[in-house]
């Protein structure tokens, strides 16, 4: 039962996809796991469960979650403003959102460290208030928030564009308050895309190294991220130790991403289920997985 497709070449493109994914993703990751598998379980756990490694997982995943959550809230605001309002320099501000993509991460890290250190433009106001950002775990969150911003904004923008303002008007005419309109009409439509943006920002943050090390302070047990420990192991020519940490990161990330995907699938189903109820099928088309689309 082959469905007719506008574009021919299914086999060719599937083969290409498989080869491409294998070469770029599966084989390197497989090699990683294999290298780590050369150890006995006890040795593996000893490296993966060392005090420093455990502290670094907490820092890495904690800061990444915090940064992705901040981005989810403020990225939504930014995306909403950029799509829904007309104001001077809107296009220029829109372009600014992509800067964290383009800037070399080390440059971002050095710049943020300088801005947020005690005598920097921002740090000089924060430190007298008792808020130390640069060279503390908080600095890591700042760097990760910076690099994650475009993921949320760019994922949400096309979806916000697709929400027809008629839906809001209808809600208003049926007596919904503005808060109700947002919570019951707009937010459910945005939620899957918001989760996608959150996931992208989160996964990007977990692996981030270049910007973080310049602002983190890198103190053992306090502000060391797991990628730094991996580099440290490589500097000791301890390839196996490095792969152990990498495997652990991969496993945690995979489980977390799976959980978020599950949540997304649930949200998408729930939303479409609700929207199916009215007889008029005027709902915006929302694929469960809104692919990242740069504007």
């Amino acid at each position: 039962m082959r469905r007719a497709n506008v574009l021919p070449g299914f086999r060719l493109s599937l083969g290409y996809t498989l080869v491409y994914l294998s070469l770029l993703v599966l084989i390197p990751l497989g090699g990683l796991v294999l290298k780590g598998a050369s150890l006995s379980a006890a040795q593996f756990l000893d490296i993966a469960g060392s005090e420093r490694a455990l502290a670094s997982y907490r820092v890495t995943f904690g800061a990444s979650l915090a940064a992705a959550a901040i981005n989810a809230v403020f990225g939504l605001v930014v995306a909403w403003v950029l799509v829904r309002y007309e104001f001077p320099f809107r296009r220029q501000i829109d372009a600014l959102v992509d800067l964290p993509f383009a800037l070399p991460t080390a440059v971002a890290g050095i710049t943020l460290a300088t801005l947020y250190s005690g005598n920097g433009w921002i740090g000089r106001f924060l430190e007298p208030a008792g808020l130390k950002v640069a060279f503390t775990p908080l600095g890591i969150v700042v760097a990760l928030t910076f690099i994650g911003l475009p993921f949320v904004v760019r994922t949400l923008q096309p979806v916000i564009e697709d929400i027809e303002s008629e839906a809001e008007e209808a809600a208003a005419s049926l007596g919904a308050t503005r808060a109700q309109t947002f919570v019951r009409v707009i937010f459910p439509a945005l939620f899957p895309a918001l989760l996608t943006g959150f996931t992208l920002a989160f996964s990007r943050a977990i692996g981030e190294y270049g910007s973080v090390i310049f602002i983190a302070g890198n103190m053992p047990l306090v502000s060391e991220i797991t990628p730094l420990l991996i580099i440290s192991k490589l500097d000791q020519y301890d390839l196996v130790g490095a792969t152990v940490l990498a495997t652990v990161m991969l496993a945690i990330s995979f489980v977390l991403l799976l959980a978020i995907n599950g949540l997304q699938w649930w949200a998408a189903r729930r939303h479409s289920g609700e929207a199916d109820a009215p007889p008029e099928p005027a709902r915006p088309v929302l694929p469960p997985d809104v692919a990242y689309r740069p504007a």
Binding site: G118, N218, P220, D235
Partner: protein, 335 residues
């Protein structure tokens, strides 16, 4: 729109692939080096090219690659075709010897442990030295913060660490135990560990964090050029570690490329008067006593101990202090 773009990309790719083949001189040497050696070799390479042209009548192309030294030797081990490596730590050359790329007795191939110049660790303090820092010992005082790069991950940080440790060993009643205690005290006073030498400098000089910066003597001059001479003072401690910068011919590569003669001459020339003067001009201490004397004004006398003397070589110092579970990790009470 799409087609011309694709054609242009294809053309660019072909051009990029073909370009090196066209521009090749008679011989080309690749020198894989550590990060901050850029300035030194930028000055040295034209000197050697001139020398080689008159001596062998051959024009030679010299290519440089600079990055963190451990990263660099790993690239060489993975197949980067370096004719020579010029590093800032014996461990890195030793790694290549273990892989069979460099002669086992590389340290004996050239004079002075195959290190054409040396440097040492000094302290940079704020103008007027408000905390009265005169020696390594002052860094353990409460309220004194030292800035240094990460001792586990950077060459600069490791030398700083060994300077502290060696200083403690040389105090009355000094032992590994007292050294561990002293170094731990200093490190726990550190507000951060910078990811690299230059970033430590930026943190200290520009962000004004910390009371003292531990760094190579040659960096002090660069700081003066960058931030102005009146902005800081250099403190020469009572004793410090001798930093050696070993060089070696990559045997496997020169045999394959047939560039052994040129590669060996390139390194040998580092010990010539011109090479030694170039080192001095880059604020690296020349091995040649006459050249050192000539530049005595910029190299104050300082007592130093080499890593071989104080620690039995990098082969012992590295695992004892910088490997996981070594003395650095113990200072933070972790494994």
């Amino acid at each position: 729109m799409k087609k011309p773009l694709r054609l242009a990309l294809l053309a660019a790719a072909i051009a990029a692939a073909g370009a090196p083949a066209l521009s090749r001189a008679e011989v080309a040497l690749l020198n894989v080096s550590y990060d901050v050696a850029r300035d030194f070799y930028k000055d040295y390479n034209p000197l050697f090219q001139k020398y080689w042209k008159t001596k062998a009548g051959e024009s030679i192309e010299l290519k440089q690659s600079h990055a963190g030294s451990t990263k660099q030797v790993r690239a060489v081990a993975d197949g980067l075709e370096a004719d020579v490596v010029t590093m800032n730590q014996a461990t890195d050359v030793e790694f290549l010897a273990d892989k069979g790329l460099v002669a086992r007795d590389w340290a004996k191939k050239f004079p002075g442990n195959a290190s054409p110049y040396t440097s040492t660790m000094v302290l940079i303090v704020r103008k007027g030295n408000p905390k009265g820092i005169r020696d390594w010992g002052d860094l353990a005082k409460p309220g004194v913060q030292v800035i240094l790069p990460h001792p586990k991950n950077t060459g600069n940080g490791r030398y700083s660490y060994l300077a502290l440790w060696g200083y403690a060993l040389r105090q009355a009643g000094g032992s590994d135990k007292s050294a561990q205690e002293f170094v731990g005290k200093v490190l726990r006073n550190a507000p951060l560990f910078a990811p690299g030498g230059r970033d430590a400098t930026t943190t200290f000089m520009q962000r004004k964090i910390g009371d003292a910066l531990s760094t190579f003597e040659c960096e002090a001059e660069l700081i003066a050029r960058e931030f102005g001479r009146g902005e800081f003072e250099v403190v020469y401690p009572s004793v410090s570690v001798l930093a050696e910068f070993p060089v070696a011919v990559v045997e496997k590569v020169v045999d394959k490329k047939g560039s052994r003669k040129q590669a060996a001459a390139y390194l040998e020339y580092l010990w010539s008067k011109e090479g030694q003067e170039n080192a001095a001009q880059n604020y690296l201490r020349p091995r040649d006593p006459e050249v050192l004397k000539k530049y005595a004004a910029q190299f104050p006398a300082i007592k130093t101990f080499s890593v071989d003397e104080a620690f039995g070589g990098w082969g012992k110092a590295f695992p004892a202090h910088f490997k996981d579970g070594g003395s650095f990790d113990q200072a933070f009470g972790t494994k």
